[in-house]
Subunit: 191 residues, 4 copies
DNA sequence: GATGAATGAGTTTTCATTCAT
DNA sequence: TATGAATGAAAACTCATTCAT
């Protein structure tokens, strides 16, 4: 029943892993085909070309991540609780899709991204921006340009995630708890 | 310095910029040659091949950065002062070599890095690790795996630096001061 | 006629049109399948491969044309009347099968034609050759190599037919009459 | 001295021959490269892609032919003498460039021709059109649409030329003389 | 030493053909 | 019998590297 899109999914999965591990340009179509257990030509039945493939992948995961952050957002709770929500979802996303966030991060400024991809990425940042702006208005968040704050949290977390992926750090609950606190201490307003 | 190495320097400069902007795999030798105003063949007089070029570049800038951090390190001052030293040097390095730190960051896990490059990168982390370990021992730094702390500072700062390079954020003294405080609040021990 | 060969006919019709419009090499099997409203695989139920298809098509239309020319040939009438017969049938053939003659013409020297196709084409020329040889014997047709005369009539007429198909010239009875006269004046013996 | 464009010329020569013999779509880049004694990649140093190559070739020979027809045109001589001039130049062109006219003819309606190619081809027809229109005005040329007359002469002559190329007919002065008369009798006004 | 034209190995992409359904 | 998804061989095209000048 689900067999109809199985190959397409395999291709996307393989592409995600390889793009995350080696980057778009160092990943060849035959590499993806081999990893996905399909013929090279099959990839072109599902994606017009390599750039369409990478943009499809990018948009998909950015949207999944965006929706995950948005869903059940504790609108009327404290800024700290909202931060906790966002952070936990970010952790969950990296748990569920080991390579997705790293792929997003390493490719979000790439020359081959199309307008839809850029727009999707902007939507993602908007969530974080709105949250931080609200927090600054309530004097709960440090008075630094919002973009800078996002960069610090996002950049820091992802660098850490990469270490876990590389096996240099073990992902424990305590570590995750500590990292959340670290990031919170980074961005919160210190009286 | 002398005219003899002028071409070599031009090649390295152009390669640095292009590798930082497009990545190693998307940068072609003719692109570098054109940007450096030399013939494509000339690059091969100075570097055996493209991988040797990128490794030379990587090692060079990692070492320059490492030495910059080490030089005049305030060994016997407070942890906060040592942090200030490191942070200011990091800022200075990005000011002087706009693309170097981003290049290091985006290529430090690449498949084409040789042992010397990996070792140089390890040396760089060692400086930060030793500093943080000392700080933890003195109870001035948060009790989180050192690697995690480095990731957060390094990752956060670089993400911010990218925004400045992209023109989305203006590099002011106030911003830099704020970012240093943010990072310090991230890693310091909160009583 | 029966439903059993309907698909085969659709395939042949579509192939004829596409081969005439784009040529054999620029026409893909999926193009033909789509135009014929059949699956690509279906084509292979009726024709072993693409070359068999084009040869089948070529032989079929060459034979239809040959028979059309032969049928009711006014054996014992004047050369001029025989010429009229042949010319009118040529016109009728292009009227009935818009693309057939042009397809024959543009593919009659192609690298993929098999012996049967070449033979069929030779048969076609034989009719014209015999007619012209007879006319030359009777001193009604110009004394020029027969092949040359055929080339001039055939080539000229087809080039004209192309202009009509392309819509650059309107097919009127007067035009057709004029073209017949033109061709007759070309080949007849001028005292 | 002329070595600088030698390869480019070899490529164009080989492409002309192969396109004329097999057609654009059945001719591969490696075929051209082999025939021209260059590497396949070399072709791309001179021509952006295969379509640019074929358009360059087409425009070049159409222009050469156009200029040959125009040069020394006997403006104030009789229509018959003008016809003689045009016909002799057409013969000369096929003598000097065995494949060029046949290539032009078999590719002048191809899907891959660009605007410049189409325009160049229109210019060529304009010469013939102007000549015939003038002749019709002087009542020396048959009263048939000009396009039709061009088609007949051009089409007839080329079909003949093809037979000579294929070796089925020998190119003698007498034959050429006869063909010119044939074509003249086709288009001239018969009182 | 410096160059950039030339190359061919390796890439992306197409399409005739097969075969499970 | 009919299909069209899947394939891989072969095409177009790119680019690191070489080498004659």
């Amino acid at each position: 029943m689900a067999a109809m899109t199985e190959k397409r999914d395999n291709i996307l999965d393989s592409a995600l892993t390889l793009f995350a591990e080696r980057g778009f340009d160092a990943t060849t179509i035959p590499m993806i085909a081999k990893d996905a257990n399909v013929g090279a030509g099959t990839i072109y039945r599902y994606f017009e070309n390599k750039e369409v493939l990478v943009n499809t992948l990018f948009q998909y995961y950015v949207q999944v991540f965006t929706e995950l952050l948005k869903k059940d957002f504790p609108e009327h709770h404290s800024i700290r609780e909202q931060f906790h929500h966002l952070f936990q979802r970010m952790i969950r996303f990296t748990d569920e899709q080991e390579h997705a966030l790293y792929f997003i991060k390493t490719h979000n400024a790439a020359y081959f991204l199309d307008d839809a991809s850029r727009e999707a990425f902007t939507d993602l940042w908007t969530i974080l921006r709105d949250f931080l702006d609200e927090g600054k208005a309530e004097n709960e968040i440090r008075d630094l340009p919002t973009l800078a704050l996002i960069a610090i949290i996002f950049g820091g977390f992802l660098e850490l995630h990469q270490l876990i992926r590389a096996g240099e750090l073990e992902r424990t609950e305590a570590l995750m708890q500590g990292v959340e606190n670290t990031c919170w201490d980074a961005v919160r307003h210190h009286p």
